[in-house]
């Protein structure tokens, strides 16, 4: 599959703010690609660079092999779904959808036929003559999609299209967007700050922060193998423990020295060396918790713990446990009828364990994320643990 939409080393400043800094990205044809990140990370700027509403200070943008960096938005075969939908209030639904074709001066009969087809696709044939202010949020979004798709763009750009909708509607529109992508088969570039949206819709995700790309990959890869502390912390929840590599008894596993905890095993995916400082990350759902001490099996880590907080969520429960001074989050799903079990309560002593394969190590940690470390309590004046 060829790279279809490509950003090569693009940068963009606004005043003193570097919105996008030397970013390169390749999006495949027909892919559903998401740009995911917090507010201000530069994802919207990337979208606008693709659409042509911004010119990069440096770098080029390519579409299907052609350099489109200098093309104005009306000359690019790219269409955008705006966050506010930007439906023309003085035109009917029909005229809105037909706009692109009317500008292109296609014959009236052709426009009429295409518009009717689109109306049928979004199931709004009987609302064709309404004005946008009479439509609901979901309807407006469908019109916006139709208005864009009728022009058969090479790429469809979506700028947080579901942000303005309430939860139930959002879930419904998520499915609809996915179906449309399957039906129409064009490349989607989707911008959002909502990880659930990105993960459920995308073929690949690029996680962005502060104008840079932190990681690009399939949703599962992003979730299970984050490359940076930002990605690990931004997507889902995780526990971070700081320590050093003690040694690597075999090629696959390393033993880690985390203050207060005996030799923890972890899968050595980064080919790390002994004495190297690392941050161990283990997601709450990968940790198991039980009253009794389980039977020990190889390649697993077992630790005694005390339950500090219990948050019951219905289908699962979050436990905050104290292990050798560290505060660790455990997520446990209730696969069986909950009321039959003997639940874990506050101040209970329990055992937690996880498979060495399920943890991952990061050798680099952002200063900003230091607050996420599950540090043991310090006495004032003592030097920082491990330093």
């Amino acid at each position: 599959m060829a790279e279809f939409l490509e950003f090569r080393g693009v940068s963009k400043r606004f005043g003193t703010i570097q919105a996008v800094g030397d970013v390169s990205l390749e999006i495949k044809k027909g892919e559903f690609f998401s740009l995911l990140g917090p507010s201000g990370c530069g994802k919207t700027t990337m979208l606008r660079l693709a659409a042509g509403f911004e010119e990069p200070d440096a770098g080029r943008v390519f579409l299907d092999g052609r350099d489109i960096t200098d093309l104005p938005p009306n000359e690019r075969k790219v269409n955008t779904i705006f966050q506010s939908y930007a439906l023309f209030p003085h035109m009917t639904v029909r005229d809105n959808i037909a706009f692109g074709l009317a500008i292109a001066k296609r014959p009236k009969t052709e426009i009429g036929a295409e518009v009717d087809k689109m109306l049928h696709l979004i199931q709004m044939t009987d609302q064709a003559d309404k004005r946008p202010d009479l439509l609901s949020g979901g309807q407006k979004q469908r019109v916006a999609v139709a208005r864009a798709l009728i022009n058969r763009p090479d790429v469809l750009l979506l700028d947080e299209p579901l942000a303005a909708l309430d939860l139930k509607l959002r879930q419904k529109m998520l499915i609809e967007l996915d179906l449309i992508h399957d039906e129409v088969g064009i490349t989607f570039l989707y911008v959002t700050h909502d990880q659930a949206e990105a993960m459920s819709l995308s073929d690949r995700i690029a996680v962005m922060d502060s104008g840079r790309i932190e990681q690009v990959g399939a949703p599962a890869e992003i979730y299970e193998s984050p490359r940076t502390s930002f990605v690990a912390a931004f997507i889902g929840d995780t526990n971070f423990l700081k320590g050093r590599v003690l040694d690597c008894p075999d090629r696959e596993y390393c033993r880690l020295d985390i203050a207060g905890l005996p030799g923890i095993l972890c899968f050595n995916d980064k080919h790390l060396q002994p004495v190297q400082p690392i941050y161990l990350s283990i997601r709450p759902e990968k940790i198991h918790i039980s009253h009794e001490r389980p039977e020990e099996e190889p390649q697993r880590n077992y630790l005694p713990a005390v339950v500090e907080d219990v948050i019951y969520l219905g289908s699962n429960t979050k436990y905050w446990v104290r292990v050798a001074g560290y505060r660790i989050q455990v997520l446990r799903q209730h696969a069986r009828y909950f009321l039959d079990e003997k639940p874990l309560r506050w101040k209970d002593e329990a055992w937690i364990w996880w498979h060495a394969d399920d943890g991952f190590m990061l050798d680099h940690f952002r200063k900003a994320d230091e607050g996420l470390l599950a540090v043991p309590p310090q006495k004032v004046g003592e030097p920082f643990n491990g330093e």
Partner: protein
């Protein structure tokens, strides 16, 4: 709430009495002496009144047209380049006529015309009217521009429209109510202006307000009642019509 009602009564009382008295046959409006349309008849047969109406309309239409063009251009400049030094000066310049008393404007224009040796007449009135109308139009259109959702323009461009097409098909149609409001405001201000016109008018270039003033000072009170009522009726119809028009657009 009581205050509001009282104030509304306060507002409308004089006007109501005026209207009522325009049909009053009495010369001095304190007592009712029978219904009559006599005063209206006299108005219709007065050539001076018709002349002043003609002058007023000529000036109002022409000054509205010119101030609409100038004011809209100014609004675009103020909006698009807001914050630049030039625009800050520009804004002050436009804002000034809105806050200074009319008499200052009148007298300064008079001095300017006298110093330049221009004869006072309809043309000088026209110039004066444009000068104050421009500010009002600019403010009205500027407010509309500031509320305008420019992502609509981006959407139009995104769908293939170039600069001209997006202006014609998206910007102007949506801005039209604002332009109409500005135009209406300029027209009303021009028709109603007295002080500035008083200072820059010449002999033979009497407008309706000037005529009313001289009638008040030296003329016939009941006829003024009738004239005022007529003016009221015209204004009210215009306002109602524009409201209906605004609603129709939806």
């Amino acid at each position: 709430m009581a205050m509001t009602v009282l104030i509304l009564v306060f507002f409308y009382l004089p006007i109501l009495i005026l209207v009522v008295n325009s049909f009053n046959a009495a010369r001095f409006s304190s007592s009712w002496q029978g219904f009559t349309l006599d005063w209206y008849a006299r108005l219709f047969h007065s050539p001076e009144i018709w002349l002043s109406v003609r002058n007023t309309l000529i000036i109002a239409v022409s000054s509205t047209a010119v101030s609409l063009v100038l004011g809209t251009a100014a609004a675009f400049a103020l909006h698009r380049y807001a914050g630049s030094r030039l625009q800050r000066v520009h804004y002050t310049l436009i804002y000034t006529p809105l806050v200074v008393p009319e008499i200052l404007m009148g007298i300064s224009l008079l001095m300017a015309f006298v110093a330049a040796g221009t004869g006072l007449g309809l043309f000088t009135i026209f110039l004066a009217h444009v000068t104050f109308s421009v500010s009002y139009v600019a403010m009205v259109v500027l407010a509309r521009l500031q509320d305008f959702d420019f992502s609509l323009i981006e959407a139009a461009q995104d769908l293939g429209a170039n600069w001209w097409q997006s202006t014609l098909k998206v910007l102007l149609p949506l801005l039209l109510p604002g332009l109409a409001a500005g135009g209406l405001l300029a027209f009303t201000l021009s028709v109603d202006d007295f002080v500035i016109t008083f200072f820059v008018a010449g002999p033979g270039s009497t407008t309706l307000p000037l005529r009313i003033y001289s009638m008040i000072k030296y003329g016939n009170p009941p006829m003024i009642n009738a004239l005022s009522t007529l003016l009221l009726a015209v204004t009210l119809t215009a306002v109602i019509a524009s409201q209906k028009l605004a609603r129709l657009k939806r």
